[in-house]
């Protein structure tokens, strides 16, 4: 959109310009608030979309900016969900916000430990290692039934009202706001990170790892840092999931969850943060509508959407929108 030429000597101007808010960026939040009042979809579905947005944002940090393709991101989502859930079910730690942060912190720490090893690999090896990590976590949770509830799922999660006032009602009115605020903070953090010097260096690593190494950028450390942050945010999504549902099953760690979030993000468009919003909204709404209309055959329509997107909208739906806007502008000019 901007054609301003930047002075290479003064990167601060460049970064400051990138962090400036565009009016269109208020749009998703206006929509989110409007959803609460108009309820074109149920708030429960809204909460699911918000959780998916957080999870997709976390993936976008490493995939869209760091260039790390993973098939095991559910490991961190699940870690957040199980930690928050087990704290409540076993230790009676029922305060929601500290529970959320505790879950996310453990997920982040786990991300740091695994990322340190995983990020030394790339390509198919990385893909398979992350995939195996996710599956092994699920197996681990299945075996340690005493703590996790195994296949039955972890029941007995009780979450106190937020600030002692707002409880998790059946219509999800309070939890919609809770999730929305969490989404907003996560988004702010992501936006800050990707537009910082650190964020630009990640893009550099994505585009040309060797060159970044050659100019002395600590590539591995940078990647581990962003991976840890990403795992932390995936943990937030998982913890929210556990609190909203008050129930955690092995499904939070499944390969299907890792795969789905990848699809959501690619559908929306990677490396642009808002892709997570578009992808989550479209994917969940399409799936929900199709599954309601055709409980047995919804996969046919969903598959069709994915194939079309891959063939015709390479940059994801948001990328297609951007090209369209650019095209219109060129027509005007």
């Amino acid at each position: 959109m901007t054609t301003k030429v930047y002075d290479a000597e003064n990167p601060v101007v460049f970064l400051r310009d990138r962090t400036r808010w565009h009016w269109a960026e208020a749009l998703p939040w206006i929509v989110a608030v409007a959803i609460f009042f108009l309820q074109p979809i149920t708030l429960n579905l809204g909460v699911q979309i918000l959780i998916t947005i957080i999870f997709a944002l976390s993936l976008d940090l490493i995939l869209g900016y760091g260039g790390v393709v993973t098939l095991g991101h559910a490991a961190y989502f699940g870690a957040g969900a199980y930690v928050t859930g087990m704290l409540s079910a076993h230790l009676g730690w029922n305060e929601p916000i500290s529970g959320l942060l505790a879950g996310a912190t453990v997920a982040g720490a786990f991300g740091f430990a695994t990322g340190w090893i995983l990020l030394r690999y790339h390509g198919l090896a990385l893909l398979m290692l992350t995939l195996a990590l996710g599956i092994m976590m699920a197996e681990l949770a299945n075996v340690t039934e005493v703590w996790t509830g195994g296949f039955d799922g972890l029941s007995g999660i009780v979450i106190d009202p937020i600030f002692g006032i707002f409880e998790n009602d059946l219509w999800r009115r309070n939890y919609y706001w809770y999730s929305l605020i969490a989404t907003f903070f996560v988004f702010l953090a992501c936006r800050r990170i990707v537009n910082s010097a650190f964020g630009r260096s990640l893009v550099g690593i994505r585009e040309n790892t060797e060159r970044m190494r050659a100019i002395g950028s600590p590539v591995h450390l940078r990647l581990v840092t962003i991976y840890t942050i990403s795992a932390f945010m995936a943990g937030i999504a998982g913890a929210l999931f556990a609190q909203v549902n008050a129930y955690v099953t092995l499904d939070v760690l499944s390969f299907a969850r890792s795969g789905t979030i990848l699809i959501v993000l690619v559908l929306g468009g990677t490396g642009r943060l808002y892709g997570a919003f578009v992808g989550a909204l479209v994917y969940i709404l399409v799936e929900d509508e199709l599954a309601k209309e055709y409980p047995a055959y919804w996969e046919l329509g969903l598959g069709f959407v994915l194939v079309l997107t891959a063939l015709f909208f390479r940059q994801g739906l948001l990328g297609a929108l951007e090209s369209f806007v650019r095209f219109c502008k060129r027509l005007k000019a």
Binding site: Y121, L127, M128, A132, M136, L306, V307, A310, R314
Partner: protein, 293 residues
């Protein structure tokens, strides 16, 4: 013979039969991924399609089992050609993410489509008499069908090896796997090779699907449920490597079987532990060509 040796022999035998199933399905994936660099997550769907073709041939048309497998090969191979041209070819130069999105989309559609046509019920077939029952090898009896699996697996491995190592087309494919640009530069029609290998790989997956009916059964969700296993075989063996896929299938098949036999409670762990261990030490698998680290 002591109990330990008998157990070891039967673990190895059963593992080998399972390994051959993995090999037959995975080898196509390994070659197409190695040659075209296409992350084809729809490979399981081709195997599933082969399984259903086998079922349809046997139960509706009364074709015997082995001809039905041959038909499954040709049907899936031929069906895969227009798919390759229309859906895969446009994405060869795209990123792996778009390839993942597209092939998962195909898998979704295949699952729903097969459910529409055949219903969600897993179908069954009746094996011919000569594949039923037990075969006595003197010191121990083995299930005949497993024995048949092993024979088929080895025959296919040898045939593929001869095809790759001893024919011009095989040499061209090897050249293209090693260096596509160079192969193109010396006048090899890589496009045609792509179609050929894609059809071959898909057809083999189709046969694998047919063979799988009597071991794990076939159902619409087969396309996803076993995909992880096939990917693991490819990664552990090394992209585009025939002997890699063969060796990886044997190692993983036997270890998986041994794990389940010796430690049923945690048996599912073994195969992943081995995968992680191999990839941590050799990121390109047993015989990969070195691009992952």
């Amino acid at each position: 013979m002591s109990g330990f040796v008998t157990s070891a022999v039967s673990i190895f035998f059963d593992g080998l039969a399972y390994a051959m199933l993995l090999f037959v399905i995975s080898v196509g994936l390994s070659i197409t991924m190695g040659l075209m660099g296409f992350v084809n997550l729809a490979h399981g769907a081709f195997a599933m399609a082969g399984g259903y073709v086998t079922v349809a041939c046997m139960n509706m048309l009364g074709v015997p089992f082995i001809p039905a497998l041959v038909l499954a090969f040709f049907f899936v191979a031929i069906m895969s050609i227009p798919l390759e041209r229309l859906l895969y070819a446009p994405l060869y130069k795209a990123g792996e993410l778009d390839q993942v999105l597209m092939s998962i989309g195909i898998t979704f559609m295949a699952i729903a489509g097969v459910t529409l046509i055949f219903g969600p019920n897993p179908p069954a077939i009746v094996l011919p008499e000569f594949l039923k029952g037990q075969i006595d090898l003197g010191f121990k009896t083995f299930p005949t069908y497993r024995f048949f699996m092993i024979v088929v697996g080895f025959v296919m491995a040898i045939a593929l090896w001869l095809g790759f190592e001893r024919t011009i087309i095989g040499a061209k494919i090897r050249a293209a796997v090693d260096n596509r640009q160079m192969a193109q530069a010396v006048g090899i029609d890589v496009d045609k090779l792509f179609i050929l290998t894609f059809a071959l790989g898909s057809g083999l997956a189709g046969v694998g699907g047919g063979l799988a009916i009597d071991i794990v059964g076939i159902s619409p969700t087969f396309a996803f449920n076993y995909l992880v296993l096939f990917l693991i075989v490819v990664a552990v063996g090394g992209l585009g490597s025939l002997r890699g896929a063969f060796l990886a299938a044997i190692v993983l098949g036997v270890i998986d079987t041994a794990g389940k036999y010796l430690w049923p409670e945690g048996g599912a762990f073994f195969i992943y532990v081995v995968t992680v261990a191999v990839l941590l030490i050799r990121p390109d698998g047993f015989f990969g060509k070195g691009a992952s680290q």
